[in-house]
Symmetry: C2
Subunit: 131 residues, 2 copies
Amino acid sequence: MTEPLPILHVCTTCRAGLPLEPGQTAPGQYMYDAVSALLGGTPAVELRPVTCLSSCSSGCAAAISQPGKWTYLLGHLDPTLAPDLLAYAALYAAHRTGTVLPSRRPASLARMVLGRMPDLSPQAAAQEIAA
Amino acid sequence: MTEPLPILHVCTTCRAGLPLEPGQTAPGQYMYDAVSALLGGTPAVELRPVTCLSSCSSGCAAAISQPGKWTYLLGHLDPTLAPDLLAYAALYAAHRTGTVLPSRRPASLARMVLGRMPDLSPQAAAQEIAA
């Protein structure tokens, strides 16, 4: 059976703490578009837009999840970091629990992790996840 | 069928950004113990310890989740806030999507939400959750 891809949720309404004029595109939408443009016909992640990750003061924000792994909440992103974000997503996909130590991430993403949450899917008891 | 309780994950290893002497109990463990002591024989939440929520600079940290709802990552907690945290958990449990606006939370928890993540359980497509 094929392993499901990691899901990358990008907050498309994120203002990244900035004021937004009426009709102006949110930085989060630019972030989503930048990631989407990089993904080819055989994407390494499933990209999903999401409306508000409640990380407004730490945006642009995203989250990455995959069954059986920690879900990571990511902030301090911007569209120029889309290639590094996808490089990180590949490392996340390759690790059994999704743990990517700061020393293994692209340097531009050093401040990125806002937190993580245990996997809640039925097949994995939360307390069985180990870093 | 009885609705499953919200799960409150409390990070028991959290140092809350402080140095910790060898053998000293982590602030996160005190946080967990304070919540545990308040829960009676018919708890309103299922309390689970978790090892590192990767929110070390924003601790003490916790997360709350329930099938079909947003999972919220919570920080800037301390053991004295355990009663307010359980009051918040009751509001979370009562709301269809788990959304508790800042104006409805105990004032002591104003800075608490670090972010939220879509429900990933099979019964709820992430994009169907609306605030």
